[in-house]
């Protein structure tokens, strides 16, 4: 089996994640969409780790680091969101425009 289907799947997921991150109004879903983008990247890395020019474990290790970082990022993101909700009473991304111009 070649690598192309994996890469294509990753590209589809990446684009959907990007679309979600930039179009959804709920802040949690925006964060979640970013996780989808990171997952697409992990798929890429693991596929390359098996079918790439030099099969090895580097890709898998890279993706492990990604997963960890993503978890930390989500934790901080949710924390900020909770605090924001406490102050503004909304999780609507489109409401966050007190600073402009």
């Amino acid at each position: 089996m070649s690598i192309t289907p994996y890469l294509t799947l990753a590209a589809i997921l990446f684009c959907i994640g990007l679309y979600g991150a930039l179009s959804k109004k709920n802040a949690i879903i925006v964060l979640l969409s970013i996780e989808l983008m990171l997952n697409a990247v992990n798929l890429n890395l693991i596929a390359f780790a098996k079918y790439g020019p030099k099969p090895g474990l580097a890709g898998q290790i890279f993706s492990l680091f990604n997963i960890t970082v993503a978890a930390a990022e989500v934790a901080v993101g949710i924390a900020i969101l909770i605090n924001l909700y406490r102050n503004r009473g909304t999780t609507d991304v489109t409401d966050m425009d007190t600073m402009k111009r």
Binding site: L38, A40, N44, F48, A72, E73, A79, I80, M99
Partner: protein
């Protein structure tokens, strides 16, 4: 496999980083252990102490006989890295110093954390400056970024601070994903995460995967462009700068941006621009893209700054324009004769560090007395505070002044000359 083990003796090269980690842990533990009544300013002094010690250790590493490399080039301690570490540490130190006393007024509730969180942020920047491996690079970048998200959100009662932090984390997350996507393609092309290995793989055979190489380049360009706030990837900067506590804004404008440049420099130079790729289409296109980015940043940043009334946003736009200037030495063609463009870059970065921190320090003082961040708060400053207005003047005039200083102007003009030669060459 055995050769790639970190020896105990290698740890001596990591002492500056270890110092920061130890200080941060110490500060965190003390913060937990001491009762709430104790003033948290000890945290600031401890942080400063750690930074000063780290500066000393870093200075000792300057000018090694030959660059030290650990774990198959994945961690390099060369002069570029050491100098950038010094810039980062000095910048962080100044920011901590600046926030002494202002932290309580800025309704930051967790003053202890606020201070010692600067340490891991600086550590992330230092890792970025030294790393020669995509994984190390990315981890350092994320350490800096995530710490910055937290620092921006430190004014917990302020809606603007929260909102800025959330915008920062959303856009930062997207840009991280974009960078990672680009890195994954680099890994896919070369089968390695080491920058030098990637470079030699690119030099070997890129025709089969030319598209992937370009794709990776542009994804990385966008991601790093976001981190350094270069137009058109700059949009987050004004809001985040405005929302963050002023010292944190200074940190973002100086340290974070400097570290972003470090990583950009490492990747662009080692992967896409090194001698092995000299004269190839790929290198020409890479440098051209950087030049275009530099030009857009300079124009857009300065043009938008013209119509801005909030000083922090104004400084954000100025930071965008300065990102363009800083991109120039990276974007220029280099040759055997002039291999190290980073001297110009570092020179400008150092000047930029001091003048920006100076500007933010004055902004803090004015902010305190006028109660807002609008430009009109500065009106009549000459009469209100004799002696003080020289400082913003000095720091803002350092822009042109540093450019006109002899060696810098020479290097700048040579950069320009090379830039033009480069563009003529690619036109041919």
């Amino acid at each position: 496999m055995e050769a790639l083990r970190l020896q105990l003796s290698d740890l001596q090269h990591l002492i500056p980083e270890l110092t920061l980690i130890v200080t941060a842990l110490l500060a965190a533990l003390l913060d937990l252990a001491l009762p709430r009544k104790v003033s948290r300013s000890f945290s600031a002094w401890l942080t400063l102490l750690g930074i000063v010690v780290a500066i000393c250790f870093t200075a000792l590493e300057l000018n090694p006989e030959e660059p030290i490399q650990l774990l198959a080039q994945s961690y390099r301690i060369d002069d570029f890295a050491s100098l950038l570490k010094l810039v980062i540490l000095v910048g962080t130190g100044l920011v901590v110093f600046m926030s002494l006393g202002s932290a309580a007024r800025d309704d930051i509730h967790h003053v202890g954390e606020y201070y010692y969180l600067f340490l891991p942020a600086a550590l992330g920047g230092m890792i970025m400056a030294s790393s020669g491996d995509l994984i190390t690079l990315y981890v350092g970048l994320e350490l800096l970024s995530i710490t910055s998200y937290v620092l921006v959100a430190m004014k917990k009662k302020s809606t603007e601070s929260n909102e800025g932090a959330f915008k920062y984390i959303v856009l930062g997350g997207i840009s991280s994903a974009i960078i990672l996507y680009g890195m994954s393609f680099l890994y896919g092309i070369s089968g390695s995460t080491n920058l030098l290995a990637i470079n030699s793989a690119l030099a070997g055979s890129i025709d089969d995967v030319k598209g992937l190489v370009y794709l990776a380049f542009f994804l990385l360009l966008a991601g790093f462009g976001f981190k350094i706030a270069a137009a058109p990837f700059h949009t987050w900067a004004p809001d985040v700068y405005q929302g963050a506590p002023t010292p944190v804004t200074a940190f973002l404008a100086v340290v974070s941006k400097g570290a972003g440049f470090a990583i950009l420099f490492r990747v662009m130079y080692w992967v896409f621009g090194s001698l092995t790729l000299m004269g190839t289409d790929l290198q020409k296109d890479a440098l051209l893209s950087l030049s275009v980015l530099a030009a857009i940043s300079m124009i857009a940043g300065n043009a938008m700054a013209l119509r801005q009334h909030n000083v922090k946003r104004l400084l954000a736009y100025s930071g965008i324009a300065n990102a363009g200037y800083l991109l120039v030495p990276i974007a220029t063609h280099f040759s055997l004769v002039h291999y190290a463009n980073y001297s110009e870059f570092l020179f400008y970065l150092i000047a930029y560090l001091f003048m920006n921190i100076g500007a933010f320090a004055v902004l803090m003082i004015v902010q305190r007395s006028s109660g807002n961040e609008e430009l009109r708060g500065f009106a009549g400053l000459y009469y209100r505070a004799r002696g003080r207005p020289q400082r913003p003047c000095c720091s803002s005039f350092r822009w042109p002044a540093s450019r006109s200083r002899r060696d810098f102007s020479e290097s700048c003009s040579s950069s320009w000359a090379r830039c033009r030669r480069n563009s003529i060459g690619s036109a041919r």
